[in-house]
Symmetry: C2
DNA sequence: GGCTTATGCAACCTTCGGGTTGCACATTAC
DNA sequence: GTAATGTGCAACCCGAAGGTTGCATAAGCC
């Protein structure tokens, strides 16, 4: 049987809040999709067709950057943004940790109740 | 090879924003952990030891409820809250969809570049 | 009945988030 | 050099988010 998550895991889990928060906005999810499809793009390109200002997109990118979801590199006068896949994997792992906690809890309950 | 996500999938993905947002707060993640460990609990019990007011916790629970993360049932004068596991699975699925989009994008890029 | 406990509702405060406009500054194109 | 393009920075607006206090109400305990 799998061992229950230790204190370290729970602590790490709390750190994932900013990552989930970064995914918790429609516009940012659109940006994620866009970055997936186009691989990498400048702010101007990312802004086109969104219906909001370049500055708005810029702020979203900063939020995503602060949680590690995207990285950027300067190329000439442009700044190119790309998804950080490792961070996506983290999100995946976090959700699985929670699910696993839940499953473990169910298992423990069954042990007690044994209906 | 796996087919790329269609418009329907992308649309569904945007709907996942509230779910991620519900997970994007430290206090709410603590609540999730607590609900995992204890299975189900009343507001009072969930509030104990958090350092904030019962009302604050109540609001967090409402946010989580609006995104389908938790359900509640009345039992006597108490209201019992529990995690909705299906919604957790949804979160899991959404993250995987994004990861998959990413993988597909990489694959397409390779097809073009063929370095 | 009367006290305690568990919750719900409403008003309020303060900070933050998403958005805008305006301007300054590089970099590329001609 | 000059014009156009791509960004960055700062101030501002407004509504929502996280939190509080105060009061009302319903259910259990004695």
């Amino acid at each position: 049987m799998r061992k229950r998550p230790n204190r370290r895991t729970a602590f790490e889990l709390l750190d994932s809040a900013p990552l989930f928060a970064a995914l918790g906005d429609q516009m940012r999810l659109r940006l994620v999709s866009r970055l997936c499809e186009q691989g990498a793009a400048s702010i101007s390109r990312l802004t086109a067709g969104t219906g909001v200002t370049r500055q708005a997109i810029s702020k979203h990118l900063r939020v995503m950057h602060n949680s590690g979801l995207v990285d950027s590199t300067r190329r000439g006068r442009e700044r190119i943004w790309r998804l950080n896949q490792r961070r996506l994997q983290d999100a995946r792992r976090y959700v699985e940790i929670i699910s696993q906690q839940w499953d473990d809890a169910l298992a423990r309950l069954r042990t007690f109740v044994e209906d």
